[in-house]
Subunit: 372 residues, 2 copies
DNA sequence: TGTTGGCACTCTGTTTCTTCGAGTGCTAAT
DNA sequence: ATTAGCACTCGAAGAAACAGAGTGCCAACA
């Protein structure tokens, strides 16, 4: 059953006030905001119903109301208004994303910006598609060393300096270079078989094991290139939040975020279209450690078939509206920089972003719940 | 004036007990440890004197004693006994440092190990000596792109994929490659002058600005190579320490450590010989934010004239002896891996490490200090 | 029927007071 | 020089009292 417009307004008011103050909010405070012309008593009736329908809860009888995850979900899906960024904010983001930085740096910088602007820890995740090698080059240095240079299909260039315990001559290196270019380009990691390596070894008349070294580097590079990388910046911001004044609680979450690489597998299945935000509220997170935190992520086009995620983590009492606006602008900026052109998008664009969330069930709370 | 042997024993006992419990320690507790055959009353006399000489202090009358920075300094310099690592610890460190990892990874891994083994945040700093370019290679890809490959004097290889808005032919690339190899190798960053670049441009008959692009990359690479890099791992461990139960305090220190790159300039002047530990206790740290923390750092030989620092940060009530043992073994391991051979040093070696600290002044505390 | 003022009630956070005990410094005895 | 004894101090912890914010409900009202 739909909520009446007034209930929605009240719910939104409670949530916004709670986000602002982190204190349970009472009927009086809402009435004082003045938006709806009715008395605290009326609001109390409405609040009671919002509680019984699961959108709010009371820490104890005779305290104000606090939003439940369901309440936040409703707020995010239907109630909250998209915020505009201030001109300064737009300018700052644009400025900081416009530097002549290499993609990796740009992305980690974007995380830093997100964290600083939202005052929450920010995460960045880059998923790389399986790459292939586009070109091999072996640069002969001297009898005992050469450099392997690999150009990947993603335009990344990888290299390695190889020192040999034995001598090779320049023609051998040349031969190997040609061979590898002929047979090892354009294929994926698991297409490189021991058989191929042996064949190349024979063809180059290499009895020093150089072929194997090169092949190993190729495989290693391809394997690495597939890995998703995840970074976290601004963990310390958590300590600003009243809900993390308990050091143990803070420690638990921070450990989860920084250790064990949980970050990487966190929202991978949440990868979705560009210019779309996703909000995971409290128990909607699969990880136990995140059950009373919220995560907002935006996906962006990182160019070359790569897709990136940028997001922030915070308590469920997160300023969804503000964070969404900033994240989406940052993500749009990254898409522009990495995917398409090199200038920043107009700041108005982000209003069109879709905030997509989970479905939710309103649950009826029984009048009386016996326990013990 | 030297402390009597018994005073030293008592001071050591106080410090060790305080490190263990984080509570002010009383005369009774020390007597109970049994090492010295005298009664609590005697110990009280001795304690009183240690207080008046500045090694200990009392949070308030009728509380136990707490070490002052001077007390810790004395402990570190003269009192503390070098600890041996357990076989498991030796095995774990050796195991984790023996992987076939590239140097960068190895160093950041070492930080992780240090943090996990000591339960304090760990920092790693790498200072790179100014590098020169040993060799230039330009790899022609197609009319619109080529790769720059630089081999540095440090054996590092850097590269960049350049895409051009205009066409070049292979001979031009070749010509530039030869030119750069002839004139831009073996020199330092600031030896590259605009004049040189112009000269090269003319010599190569390059009117497309390609020379400038290559030169810019060379300069950028050289600049980068000089920078010291600093990492911090395990910041969250701070939250374990009772002295950081106050989230604001913890936040302040963590922010200092993680932001603004203070880390890099922290103990740079503390660079010192290999296999030597340095301990900075509380106010001995120059940074205001570290005034009631301690830092222990070990320097290791990172090979190729590079020098690395690995260390931990914690409250002044740090387990100096335990941390010193672990850090020195890790540093020795890194030196071996990166500098000399590739096997781990024997675990006994670390006992020979010098713990070098600051000089200190014993200050006489007047019987009565009037204030207000 | 929905809204409102009034009022008794509940519950928490804060403050104040008390108590408890660890630890001290001092003194006198050994 | 060391030690036992003792009075004293001071903070931590607990108990009691208090204030106030907020509620639910009832009766009055539009």
């Amino acid at each position: 059953m739909e909520l009446t417009p007034r209930k929605k307004k009240i719910l939104a008011a409670v949530i916004e006030e709670y986000i602002r103050t982190a204190e349970p909010v009472g009927s009086k405070a809402i009435a004082a905001k003045g938006n709806l012309g009715c008395s605290p008593a009326t609001i109390r009736n409405e609040l009671a119903e919002l509680v019984s329908r699961g959108y709010l809860e009371q820490p104890h009888t005779s305290a104000g109301r606090v939003p439940t995850p369901l309440g936040y979900r409703m707020y995010v899906n239907e109630l909250m208004e998209t915020q505009d960024l201030s001109d300064e904010e737009v300018a700052e983001i644009a400025e900081r994303l416009s530097g002549p930085l290499p993609p990796d740096q740009l992305m980690s910088d974007a995380g830093r910006i997100a964290s600083q602007l939202t005052n929450y820890p920010a995460l960045t995740i880059t998923a790389r598609p399986a790459a292939t090698i586009r070109r091999f080059d072996l640069i002969y240095l001297d009898a005992n060393s050469f450099i392997i240079v690999l150009l990947l299909s993603t335009d990344a260039v990888k290299n390695k300096l190889v020192r040999l315990p034995v001598s090779v001559d320049q023609t051998m290196i040349q031969k190997l270079s040609t061979l590898f270019n002929a047979h090892f380009t354009g294929i994926s990691e698991n297409a490189i078989t021991p058989g191929m390596i042996h064949a190349a070894e024979r063809a180059a008349e290499d009895n020093l094991g150089i072929t194997a070294v090169i092949a190993a580097f190729a495989i290693e590079t391809l394997t690495d290139s597939e890995q998703t990388q995840a970074y976290l910046v601004g963990e310390t911001q958590l300590l600003n939040q009243p809900e993390f004044r308990d050091p143990d609680k803070a420690h638990r979450l921070m450990r989860y975020l920084t250790e064990g690489g949980h970050l990487a597998d966190l929202p991978l299945e949440e990868m979705h279209g560009d210019n779309e935000l996703r909000v995971l509220i409290g128990p909607e997170n699969v990880a136990e450690e995140l059950k009373d935190s919220s995560v907002i992520i935006a996906t962006y086009d990182a160019g070359d078939n790569m897709r990136g995620i940028i997001g922030v983590v915070g308590p469920t009492r997160m300023d969804y509206s503000r964070v969404a606006a900033k994240l989406s602008y940052i993500a749009a900026g990254l898409s522009k920089r990495l995917g398409g052109g090199s200038s920043m998008p107009p700041p108005g664009l982000d209003n069109k972003l879709i905030i997509k969330g989970e479905d939710f069930d309103e649950r009826e709370i029984k009048e009386e719940e016996n326990e013990g």
